[in-house]
């Protein structure tokens, strides 16, 4: 039996390994212009020109074979064939950044010394040219003793050459590592790398330094902070300002679908299922797709330009005060999109206690699943007026909710670092990549992927939770002639009635209690659940059917209740996936249990305090 040859892409962080992987396999791995985007091994198939299949693996970047964090450990283990259930690679493709050869060649020399068949992909030659640097791949190849192929991964340049070179590499017998390489040592390798890098330079003309110029503003103690806050502020303003037309459109479709279903079907269970459960329930969540995509657009832009590491730099001072480092800010900012990849990204943090703390506070960052919840309440209770030139009140409130999450996270980190994750604060050492202009197709693909993920969620977990809730709300039916409301009489209504005893003191009503239980699966379900409850209740009242969920809420909830509900969702850990990934990343139930416990306690207190204050203030 001949196994498919295994080829590993390896190199420094941000050299373009994932971009090359995507270009070769047609995959859509996440790219980002900062170190630590890829945190686990990913594999894909390519076929060489002679038709042979090859398994290509993309690995987290690392600076040497001495790992300092969990993601780098994976790379070392795969390269040395120590990864469980995995064979030694048949060949390595070392990806180096042409504009930073001195440094990348040092690691390349360490890898070449392993004795595996090796090709060097001299990537980012376009960036080197931008910096006025011209390199000779042949000289480099002669010095390194392995083939060197110039590539521009993001423009798919040099790929044919690379595949051709791979073909030649993969003939030959089974591989083994060179036995006990006489290691020349770190310093000798560095000197050698430098010599080789110098020798490969054809011309070098100092050129304008875009990155240094931008950084003079972006990293300035005062201006940089203004830039960071403005970016976040504009992001939340845009979530409202840009989203109204598409939202109105989707709402129109949903209303038309509900009308059509009501007209076509006789009054009964099927109609109720379709209209109350599916269209009004799940539809109430899908309406928020435009807002979620706007949020992602900004996050993708920040990731692609290289600003993420600058944000980390700006935040390091503050993060240090709570016992973390600026590095931890990157996973936290990623958690704006979703806590799950945010928690995975903590694998780049070397200190175990730093990492655990970051995992524990990641759910406090406002993930995009909270956006529908916030948006529906804000839409219903906060007037759409401006409070200053270009500043909408709704966007402002959203911004405040996000900031509340961040401040909450920092306070919790501070407390954790002197109690359960006590330890010496670790340092902040990070490479800062050059800025790049985001590539429009990368951004569009990123948005498309998020839209698919969101719609899949709506079609699976949100749909299923809503349908189950609809069932529990529809049965048993009250006896004919009784004047108990069907919702009160249903199983779900009775359960919620019980839970409500606990929730009433913090201003929640039965409907909220009802929505919170299925929302354990995913936060958005709180919205679809409320929509289903009110859609069911509105059945007799034909006029009510015309109104949106927001209008229905406005009629039934007091402002303090709505605010308490928002405060609850700033903290509540209502997401099965987050709990599951926390269990996986911390190897046990202890920390996820702790996380869920402290977050619910916080959510309860925050909602209660908000409600009491708002009530006392006469809102």
């Amino acid at each position: 039996m001949t196994a498919i040859p295994l080829v590993a892409l390896v190199g420094n962080p941000n050299a373009g390994k994932s971009a090359l992987f995507n270009a070769l396999t047609g995959a859509r791995q996440k790219l980002g212009n900062y170190p630590g985007v890829t945190v686990e091994r990913k594999s894909g198939r390519i076929s060489l020109d002679d038709g042979r299949p090859v398994e290509l693996v993309d690995l987290p970047g690392t600076y040497s074979l001495d790992p300092t964090s969990p993601d780098e450990q994976v790379t070392r283990d795969v390269i040395l064939g120590r990864q469980e259930g995995e064979r030694l690679p048949d060949a390595l493709v070392i990806v180096v950044d042409a504009s930073n050869l001195d440094n990348h060649l040092r690691f390349a020399l360490e890898l070449i010394a392993l004795g595996l068949p090796t090709i060097v992909a001299l990537n980012m030659v376009d960036l080197a040219t931008r910096d006025g640097l011209e390199l000779d791949a042949n000289t480099l190849s002669a010095d390194l003793g392995v083939p060197v192929i110039a590539t521009v991964a993001v423009r798919k340049r040099g790929l044919d050459h690379l595949r051709g070179a791979l073909e030649g590499m993969l003939d030959g017998g089974p591989r083994q590592l060179r036995p006990s390489v006489p290691d020349i040592g770190f310093d000798a390798r560095r000197a050698e790398a430098r010599r080789i890098a110098r020798a490969a330079i054809v011309t070098e003309t100092p050129s304008r330094r875009l990155t240094a110029a931008v950084d003079r503003v972006a990293l300035h103690p005062v201006m940089g902070l203004v830039v960071l806050l403005s970016l976040l502020f504009v992001m939340f303003q845009a979530v409202y300002a840009w989203s109204q037309p598409p939202i109105t459109m989707i709402e129109g479709w949903a209303a038309a679908a509900a009308d059509a279903a009501s007209a076509a079907l006789p009054d009964g269970l099927l109609r109720s299922f379709l209209v109350d459960g599916v269209i009004n329930g799940v539809g109430s969540v899908i309406v928020f797709l435009p807002q979620i995509l706007i949020l992602f657009f900004f996050i993708l832009m920040l990731e692609a330009t290289g600003y993420m590491t600058r944000a980390a730099f700006m935040m390091d001072g503050l993060m240090a005060r709570v016992g973390l480092s600026g590095r931890a800010f990157i996973p936290l900012l990623s958690s704006f999109a979703c806590a799950v990849p945010g928690i995975m990204a903590t694998r780049t943090i070397s200190d175990p206690k730093d990492r655990l703390t970051t995992i524990l506070i990641a759910p406090l960052m406002t993930c995009s699943a909270r956006l529908p919840v916030y948006a529906v309440i804000i839409g219903a209770f906060i007037p759409a007026q401006t409070v200053g030139p270009g500043i909408g009140l709704q966007g402002l409130v959203l911004f405040i909710l996000y900031v509340a999450g961040i401040i909450g996270a920092l306070i919790v980190a501070l407390i954790l670092r002197v109690t359960v994750t006590k330890g010496k604060s670790s340092g902040f050492l990070m490479e800062m990549p050059k800025y790049q202009f985001p590539r429009i197709q990368d951004i569009l693909i990123g948005l498309w992927q998020r839209a698919v993920i969101f719609l899949k969620r709506a079609g699976t977990i949100i749909f299923a939770s809503t349908v189950i809730l609809w069932l529990l709300l529809s049965f048993p039916k009250p006896p004919v002639g009784s004047n108990v409301s069907p919702v009160d009489y249903s199983i779900a209504g009775r359960i919620a009635g019980g839970l409500n005893v606990v929730m009433e003191p913090i201003g929640f009503n039965r409907d909220i209690s009802l929505a919170l239980i299925p929302a354990m699966a995913a936060r958005e379900v709180a919205v679809s659940a409320l929509a289903t409850v009110y859609s069911l209740e509105a059945n007799d009242d034909e006029a009510a059917l015309e109104r949106s969920l927001g209008d229905r809420l406005k009629g039934r909830w007091s402002l303090p209740t709505a605010l308490a509900f928002l405060a609850w969702f700033v903290f509540a850990p209502q997401c099965i996936s987050t709990i599951a990934v926390t269990r996986r990343e911390t190897n046990g139930w202890r920390w996820p249990a702790f996380m869920v416990g402290y977050l619910f306690a916080l959510a309860y207190c925050a909602a209660g305090i908000t409600f009491w204050i708002a009530t006392a203030a006469g809102l």
Partner: protein, 85 residues
């Protein structure tokens, strides 16, 4: 002169590094970033008010961010890098 006091955007090279005040993993990471005796270095941006924040500097062709305690361990001289390197 220690790196944290070194004027911004002036060419310099590393005279010596006091590895003993750095933890093993921090020392390793700094070396992997190219910090070593003789390497060219340029302090670029100081973060935070009153110089308490991190420092961005260019080592060779790479821009890196470090904290003040790292910068304090690095002794820098002005001028182009040494030919010895």
């Amino acid at each position: 002169m220690r790196l944290h006091l070194f004027p911004l955007r002036q060419p310099g090279y590393i005279d010596s590094v006091d590895w003993s005040v750095l933890s093993a993993s921090e020392g390793q990471r700094l070396r992997e970033f190219g910090v070593c005796e003789g390497a060219s270095i340029e302090a670029l941006h100081r973060g935070g008010l009153m110089g308490r924040g991190p420092l961005a500097c260019k080592v060779g062709r790479m821009t890196i961010a470090m904290r003040r305690n790292h910068a304090e361990a690095i002794d820098v001289r002005s001028g182009p890098e040494t030919p010895a390197q």
